[in-house]
């Protein structure tokens, strides 16, 4: 009985779902690590940005907002229930926000990385004061 219930739960949780296309401005990379446990109600989502970002909104695909964490500057590890999510990030040096859109399909650790601008190593050292 228990085994049947577990199989049914797994079928429900891991059934394929249609993904929402990411916004044009977004650079999204979602990776999933093997789930730590067979079934969890929420998943861990690591949100990161290059060079860094601040989480402005977390919302469902239907636009329902979720409470923001206290520390919003990347990297941020979020705990979210399975489902379709949009995490909107900003950086004061860039006018356009970046959106991390993904589908949490199960427990585990997921990774979303958006890119505002990738600094060249020379520019990094210049701005870090290497040649001053």
């Amino acid at each position: 009985m228990v085994l049947v219930a577990a199989i049914l739960s797994a079928v429900v949780l891991f059934r394929p779902r249609a993904r929402q296309p990411p916004p044009a401005a977004a650079i999204v990379r979602v990776s999933a690590e093997p789930p730590a446990a067979a079934v969890t109600p929420t998943a861990a989502l690591l949100v990161d940005a290059i060079p860094w970002g601040r989480i402005e909104r977390i919302e469902t695909s239907a636009g329902e907002p979720r409470e923001l964490p206290e520390a919003r500057e990347t990297p941020v590890l979020l705990e979210l229930p399975a489902g379709d999510w949009r995490v909107v990030l900003s950086n004061p040096s860039f006018a356009e926000e970046r959106v991390c859109a993904f589908t949490l399909v199960g427990a585990g650790r997921h990774h979303c990385l958006v890119e505002f601008e990738r600094l060249s190593v020379d520019r990094y050292f210049q701005e870090a004061g290497w040649w001053r």
Binding site: A44, L46, D48, A49, I50, P51, W52, A71, E73, T74, P75, V76, L77, S93, L113, R118, L119, V121, D122, R123, Y124, F125, Q126, E127, A128, G129, W130, W131
Partner: protein
């Protein structure tokens, strides 16, 4: 001309006398009497002519003219000398007085003293003339030698440099000096012909001024030549220095391998500058050479001040961090073998930021990572007290963490 004409007339008269033997005594008496009359009247030219005629007829002086009605002494040489002296012909006067003195009649008559002062005056005049002529010849010789020296082909280049150096009128000055040399020669010839020491001395002054002018021009030219030569030598030295600086800069550039980012856009300019400086030629002006040197020096200071680019491992760690690959950053910067504080400090900063990011990415659950981040911040600040994370590359959260740790008192 008048004298020549007079002689012709005299010759005609003599011929007439020969044709019909004249009373010689009467002719001599008349001639001599007329000569004395002309002399007393100050008609020096006529007196000279008549005395010469008398000398021609009877050259020997006598206490008395051997004629019945003449009772004055016959002294044609003596008086001819006086007339010639009066006319400025001291040479002729002295010759006549010498002839007169040889005969001794004037001295017997007590006229020696009277002529003495005149003779002295003439002798002094001739001495002045001779002295001035000698000096003039000497000055003219000096002036001509200097003019020759100035216009010698070996000095053509120097003369050209002299023009560059501001002696544009040297050729005109040389021509004018040559004209004055000629004028002095003419004056000297006139002085000799006129036995005029004043004229000779004027020629001497002109010759001296000309010689001095030419000597001055020569010295001026040589001075300019020396100055131009010094400037050339200076320019050659500056060219060598600029070339050396360019070569050092080239070597520095090659040793560095890459330019600091602030100079990336100027690489072509720098390479062109180096090539130009190495091949700079003497035709370049000193200002151009000095301009090159200033620009090279500015680049050199920029490059030298920039020090070497970050070491390879540090760059590799930074690349990983900029990709947000914090684990790789920690791995690449696990060892920090650098002795120089700057490389150490930047490595520690990146390692600290990577450890802190991993601490956050792990849900802030790993105190070891936070401690590693903290220790690296402390060590980084120790290596470079002024080090700060760049806001463009590090999140404000890490920047605050860094500042909080760095500013904390030791042991806190």
């Amino acid at each position: 001309m008048a004298v020549t004409g007079g002689r012709a007339l005299t010759a005609l008269a003599v011929l007439a006398l020969v044709a019909a033997p004249p009373p010689v005594e009467g002719t001599l008496r008349d001639l001599y009497a007329e000569a004395l009359t002309a002399m007393e009247a100050g008609e020096w030219r006529q007196a000279e002519f008549l005395f010469r005629e008398a000398v021609a007829l009877h050259p020997d002086e006598a206490r008395r003219l051997p004629l019945r009605r003449i009772f004055r002494p016959y002294l044609p040489h003596y008086y001819l000398g006086a007339v010639l002296a009066q006319r400025g012909d001291c040479r002729g006067a002295l010759a006549e007085w010498r002839l007169s003195a040889e005969q001794g009649v004037a001295a017997q008559l007590g006229l020696g003293d009277e002529i003495g002062s005149r003779r002295s005056s003439c002798e002094q005049r001739l001495e002045r003339l001779a002295l001035a002529a000698t000096e003039t010849e000497s000055e003219l010789g000096r002036a001509e030698r200097t003019a020759t020296e100035l216009s010698h082909p070996s000095r053509a280049q120097l003369l050209g440099l002299g023009f560059e150096g501001g002696l544009g009128t040297l050729g005109q000055r040389l021509d004018a000096s040559r004209d004055r040399i000629s004028e002095a020669r003419v004056r000297l010839d006139d002085a000799a012909a006129a036995q005029d020491p004043d004229l000779a001395e004027a020629a001497q002054r002109l010759a001296r001024e000309t010689a001095l002018e030419l000597q001055g021009a020569l010295e001026e030219l040589e001075q300019i030549g020396r100055r131009v030569a010094e400037e050339r030598a200076h320019k050659r030295r500056r060219i060598e220095e600029v070339g050396e600086l360019a070569r050092r800069l080239d070597e520095l550039l090659r040793a560095r391998g890459s330019l600091p980012p602030s100079l990336h856009a100027r690489r072509q300019e720098l390479e062109s500058l180096i090539a130009g400086a190495i091949s700079v030629h003497e035709s370049a002006t000193l200002e151009q050479i000095e301009g090159l040197e200033r620009r090279l020096d500015a680049f050199y200071r920029l490059l030298e001040g920039s020090e070497a680019p970050p070491p390879g491992t540090l760059r590799s760690g930074a690349i990983a961090f900029l990709r947000a690959d914090y684990q790789a950053t920690l791995e690449r910067l696990a060892e920090i073998p650098y002795r120089d504080p700057k490389s150490r400090a930047h490595s520690l900063l990146l390692r600290s930021a990577a450890a802190y990011a991993l601490h956050l990415a792990g849900g802030e659950s790993d105190p070891d990572l936070l401690e590693r981040a903290r220790q690296d911040v402390v060590a980084a600040r120790r290596s470079a007290p002024g080090l700060k994370p760049a806001p463009s590359a590090f999140s404000p959260r890490f920047v605050r963490f860094f500042e909080r740790v760095a500013d904390a008192p030791p042991g806190a």
